[in-house]
């Protein structure tokens, strides 16, 4: 039953709309006709008046003419009133039908993305503004490694400080630099391979321009660090095994405690720490970097 009622109301709406259009048209025509008619009437009356002056027999003609004009005006007045009433009724019927259709068609389908954008969920993480990370200076390996070895010494003990210096400079341990270190110091390739793979700070493969360290300390784990890591990886489309996204912009690392447990869950992006995050908040915090605002 509802369907036919719905159909009938839609149909009524269309009829009403048509009626409104017709009435408006009629009124316009009648108005235009009146505007055209008026000068003609005036001319005939003036012409008759001139004739009456010559001979009186025209007098009844003038009176008839006046009667006709006045009758026409009255009659037009009545007709316009009727059309106006019809127009008013048709319009209100159309409005009522349209509103009923809109109402029963369930509340207006609100476009969700506009809702989200309209609400522009307040940026949960503070927008990080980061200087462009050094892309790994291209200073020739030779000179750099020599300088490091000078500084830290050649003994086996200097292995870790040297690796740390290389890592700080290139943001990862390039193989050529490691070979140079072996040649210049007593450190054996075995020791370098052993140490560089043992300690989590060192990486053999190049990293993204920005490093996102998600803290997986106890407090952060309990506060949902796993959810944040998964959401970051999903949002940055990082494949299962890897830890850097396709455009080599972000590397997502999971590190043990960063030491800000009361701000759990925490992520560190290139040294800047952001706390009290939600999965979406973490991604928003990165948006500031991925498409840096023009400011």
């Amino acid at each position: 039953m509802n369907q036919t009622l719905h159909q009938r109301v839609r149909w009524a709406a269309w009829i009403a709309a048509a009626a409104v259009a017709v009435c408006v048209l009629l009124l316009t025509i009648s108005y235009a006709a009146a505007r055209l008619q008026a000068p003609r009437d005036e001319k005939t009356v003036a012409e008759l008046k001139r004739k009456v002056r010559e001979d009186a027999s025209f007098a009844p003609r003038i009176e008839a003419e006046h009667k006709r004009i006045t009758a026409a005006l009255q009659q037009r007045r009545k007709r316009d009133d009727v059309i106006a009433i019809v127009l008013l009724l048709a319009a209100s019927l159309f409005v009522a039908a349209a509103k009923w259709l809109a109402a029963c068609g369930g509340r207006r389908q609100l476009p969700m993305d506009r809702l989200v954008q309209l609400k522009a969920a307040p940026r949960q993480g503070p927008a990080l503004t980061l200087p462009a990370a050094p892309g790994g200076a291209e200073e020739p390996h030779q000179a750099f490694v020599e300088r490091i070895v000078e500084q830290h010494g050649r003994s086996r003990e200097a292995a870790i400080p040297i690796l740390q210096a290389i890592q700080a400079h290139y943001r990862y341990l390039p193989d050529e630099a490691l070979k140079l270190v072996c040649e210049l110091t007593e450190i054996t390739p075995a020791q370098i391979a052993g140490s560089s793979s043992f300690y989590s700070q060192f990486r053999r493969s190049p990293r993204g321009r920005h490093v996102v360290r998600v803290c997986h300390g106890t407090a952060c784990h309990v506060a949902g660090a796993r959810l944040i890591t998964d959401e970051l990886r999903r949002r940055l489309e990082i494949p299962g095994g890897a830890d850097t996204d396709a455009q080599r912009l972000f590397t997502v690392d999971e590190v043990a405690c960063v030491g800000c447990c009361s701000l759990a869950p925490v992520i560190m992006v290139d040294g800047q720490t952001v706390g009290k995050l939600t999965p979406t908040g973490a991604c928003d915090a990165l948006d500031g970097i991925r498409s840096p605002s023009p400011a």
Partner: protein, 205 residues
């Protein structure tokens, strides 16, 4: 909360009080000098149709054309007590038209033929000039074109016909279209009592 909010609350209330006072005050000022009901009215002393000293000029029919109400809300009204009940009424006949055999002008003045000429009492056929006729304006047909008013005034007539706003028709617009169009600012809003008294035709400009 802290004192800051309550102070701001007090400020808001004070502002509201001040606004209320301002509104109330100006309202009181207006009410004190207020009028009763006012209506639109044709000031016959200003309307060129009825004003003395303005002759052989085409009657101004702005009242007909400008009024928002179809067929206008202004009508010609014949104050019978002032009407001369003349045998040949300059407002009824167009005295400039040719005279027919009975000695009456052949053409009627009113374009709408809205005036009816009715003899009063018994008519003495052989002394036509002394008979009395009554001229009754049919308010349905009349559209206030002002020709009869122009014709009936001094020196030709006694000026018993004037244009008047018919309040049953008048919609009492806040801005009367005629009043803006009227070249002599003759349409004004006057208290209801003054609307109907027959202003002595004197020209005051």
């Amino acid at each position: 909360m802290s004192d800051q909010t309550t102070r701001r609350g007090a400020l808001a209330r004070a502002a509201r009080g001040a606004a209320a006072l301002a509104l109330g005050g100006s309202a009181f000022y207006l009410v004190r000098k207020a009028d009763g009901q006012i209506v639109w009215n044709v000031d016959s002393a200003r309307c060129i149709n009825s004003r003395l000293g303005v002759t052989n000029v085409e009657a101004c029919n702005l009242c007909t054309t400008e009024c928002v109400v179809p067929l206008s809300a202004v009508r010609a009204v014949n104050e019978y007590s002032k009407c001369g009940r003349c045998y040949i009424c300059p407002a009824y006949f167009n005295i400039t038209s040719a005279v027919d055999e009975k000695g009456l002008p052949s053409e009627k003045l009113c374009p709408r033929d809205a005036i009816e000429r009715k003899p009063i009492g018994d008519i003495d056929p052989d002394d036509p000039a002394n008979n009395f006729y009554e001229y009754i304006i049919d308010e349905v047909k009349c559209d206030g074109c002002g020709k009869c008013v122009m014709a009936c005034k001094e020196p030709l007539g006694l000026g018993s016909i004037v244009l008047r706003v018919r309040h049953s028709l008048c919609v009492d617009c806040n801005r009367c279209a005629i009043s803006t169009a009227c070249p002599k600012d003759a349409i004004l809003q006057v208290p209801i009592e003054k609307a109907f008294d027959h202003v002595q035709l004197g020209s005051h400009d």
